[in-house]
Symmetry: C2
Subunit: 456 residues, 2 copies
């Protein structure tokens, strides 16, 4: 039967689209998620067109073979990990920015195009593609769409899904649908675009996307504030969000700041409980006014230090501290990067819960993330060589998910469920909503061939 | 069998929730859409709770009776029109703003609450509920959600769906699901929230919504520009959108301006081909800078007159002209209000096509709308008493839909498909995407009891 899969595919695809070399298969079987299980694919398919994706899905449907789609493999939840014996579909050959329509303020792209490639193509026309997951330089737009990826700009400009006008999707049976269109507003029919965005390859394979571009915002000005308490930092976050519109609002806790300082000393305050980094991209006097409102909010909330700078180089230096957060924690051991969301009013409680969990489990946890959206990345740092410590790290990871749910939050704000958090999805959704998910999945993929064992 | 429906409902609902008076039924059978067909409901149900909605749907499912939900009846596509013998569910008793969480920047509402009530409740906490359909003073949030209503603020703040964090929905079988949650970012599972938003009561009945609030923006400054040609006005629109972020960008064509001037003279230029109205709510110096960019775009595009004012009263006066657009056209005869969207680069072509259609069909068409989103409302004005003219008006209405589709647009930007535009949905979606709609509908409402004959 597995022999038949390759033979059947070779009858409908050009030879260069098929790879069965075992080393290559092995190199493509997983994404960046620690511990997420992966199987060995039967074959790697590298389609060059929508038609080839259709051909793959027709064969897969006929033979009932699982199909797992992948982009750059930069995912953080195992969503693109191969299942045993699957057809692994790499979309990296479908990597063109097909169109940038300057006057229409949109772009049409293939799923394998890098986020960075679209940003560059838009910039050539004086426009801006907003979504900026941390992986933007090496992740594909298809992957961004499949996970509804977030990033730093979301606090003002929304997530990937907010930038999608329309999609072309190949369904499990090989048929092609086009959702949405080229207009900003469109209520003709169900919002199937949003149904596919974030569905992690379980409902169809996105083969083209029409994405919204924006005018490039003015140069950002940057604010840094430190706080003696987590509650103070959390209060400042909701105060800032209630009074102005930052283009970025990031938090780093003491453990994270210390990790950065011990790796690349920048003179950050290692005694502070938390550090906030905020930006305004309103520009000019309004930018100054927004920074003033942010500074006032920080001071009201008991900040021990507040500074801001319109200087671009200095602002970049401060941003550098935030960008180093995760790599700095990685310097200290193996890491388990979590991704939870809470209502922004409950950030202090989340941070306190994470501290408790670190104590209880006897592990170190550095927390940083997109505070303005309530989306935080508590990161467990541990010694991988010690199986007992590793077990406690995993427990801590799960405890953090439970803490987020207890605070009315979500088990994933932007990384996706993948295979890493499947067990917790039912706790968040409840039985009836989970049942509705299965109803939708069964309707769109009755054979269950699309990325089985992920998300649901 | 119809007797059984009322008896079955009376067994599970309190008497005050059931109405069978024929005059009352007749008064509730349709919304504001001209010509959309409506039937006589068998019974009007006025549930006071989610549990009562569940009870209604269990009875309806068991007896296979159609269920049509409605709010204030202010819809413009016949989406809430009764089908013959249906159970008509009015959600006006479920009209509470249950919670305004200032620090969490969200509100929890029942579907029968007016948009205006939420705006007021948010304002009490210094916050703002952005979505502002023209009907905001008298339409319900449930109706806004069911149609994914737009409005004037969308150009900067998005449509109703962009403000939704989570929903409680009663499904056809009477089960209750909760989608989304209280966090801004959330990728745990499929985006079922967006699937229900805009589904016009065909997939479930929304019984509660968690909506996002924002900080109140600074006072807006206003710009008015007139253009000797439609192409000039259209070029200005895309130029403005490519260079800055207006909080409002509306267009009125000559026919509309003349209707306003002949009803309530304001000294508008009745010779201009089109008038643009734009606002910035950035505030202070940035507001001035944004208006400067808009003015420059208008001048580059050949505007014959450009003025702007930071004065609130003067700005309100200009806004008044836009608000009078539809009522002024209504003064001139019966109207057929259309609602189409095109990519903003194609607005001039849409306006030219509408002029051609008016000529060809021998009817007057005034066009106004949300130019910054490419969402326009060409409005056919005609003499209702003459059946031949009326027939031509209908033809013109349909021609406008075809013109929008030819320009890569949509048959509805914000009013919904309802029963008025069903015949055109397949032309927009194509057979495969339409089939997927039916697949989703059949999965969620296998008995086909939810608002049959609408949208699909």
């Amino acid at each position: 039967m597995t022999v038949d899969v390759v033979r059947a595919l070779s009858e409908v695809l050009p030879a260069e689209s098929l790879v069965t070399d075992r080393d290559v298969l092995d190199a493509h079987r997983h994404d960046q998620a620690e511990w997420a299980p992966s199987g060995m694919p039967r074959v790697l398919v590298r389609p060059a067109s929508t038609e080839e994706v259709q051909a793959v899905l027709r064969v897969a449907s006929a033979l009932r073979v699982p199909v797992v789609a992948r982009g750059a493999g930069s995912g953080l939840s195992g969503g693109a990990n191969a299942s045993e014996g699957c057809i692994l579909v790499s979309l990296l050959r479908m990597n063109r920015v097909l169109e940038v329509d300057r006057r229409g303020m949109l772009a049409v792209v293939q799923p394998g195009a890098l986020n960075a490639a679209l940003k560059a193509a838009a910039a050539e026309q004086g426009l801006w593609y907003a979504p900026d997951p941390a992986s933007w330089e090496f992740s594909t737009l298809g992957g961004n769409l499949a996970t509804n990826a977030g990033g730093l700009c979301c606090v003002k400009y929304g997530v990937t899904g907010d930038a999608v006008l329309g999609l072309e999707v190949v369904l499990a049976d090989g048929s092609v649908v086009r959702t949405g269109g080229r207009t900003v507003k469109n209520v003709a029919g169900y919002d199937l675009t949003r149904l596919f965005v974030g569905s992690e390859g379980t409902l169809g394979i996105i083969t083209e996307a029409t994405l919204r571009l924006r005018p490039r915002p003015p140069r950002a000005t940057t604010l840094l504030a430190t706080f003696p308490t987590l509650v103070g930092a959390g209060t400042a976050v909701s105060d800032i969000m209630a009074t102005t519109r930052p283009s970025l609002l990031e938090l780093m806790d003491r453990t994270t700041v210390r990790a950065v300082e011990s790796w690349k000393p920048m003179g950050l305050d290692v005694q502070a409980a938390a550090l906030l980094l905020a930006r305004s991209d309103a520009g000019g006097a309004q930018g100054e006014e927004e920074l003033g409102l942010m500074a006032a909010a920080c001071e009201r909330s008991g900040a021990s230090f507040v500074m801001n700078t319109p200087d671009e180089a200095e602002g970049e230096l401060l941003m550098q501290a935030r960008r180093l957060a995760f790599p700095a924690l990685e310097q200290q051991g193996a890491t388990l990067l979590d991704d939870v969301g809470v209502p922004i009013s409950r950030i202090p409680e989340l941070l306190a819960a994470v501290e408790r969990i670190a104590d209880q489990r006897g592990v170190r946890i550095g927390t940083f993330g997109h505070a303005g959206d309530g989306n935080m990345h508590p990161t467990v740092v541990f010694d991988r060589k010690d199986p007992e410590v590793m077990a406690r790290a995993k427990e801590a990871f799960d405890d953090i998910l439970r803490a987020a749910l207890d605070l009315g939050g979500t088990i994933t704000g932007e990384h996706g469920v993948g295979s890493l958090k499947r067990a917790f999805l039912s706790a968040q959704l409840g039985p009836e909503t989970l049942r509705l998910h299965h109803t939708v999945k069964a309707a769109l993929d009755p054979g269950g061939i699309l990325n089985p064992g992920k998300l649901l």
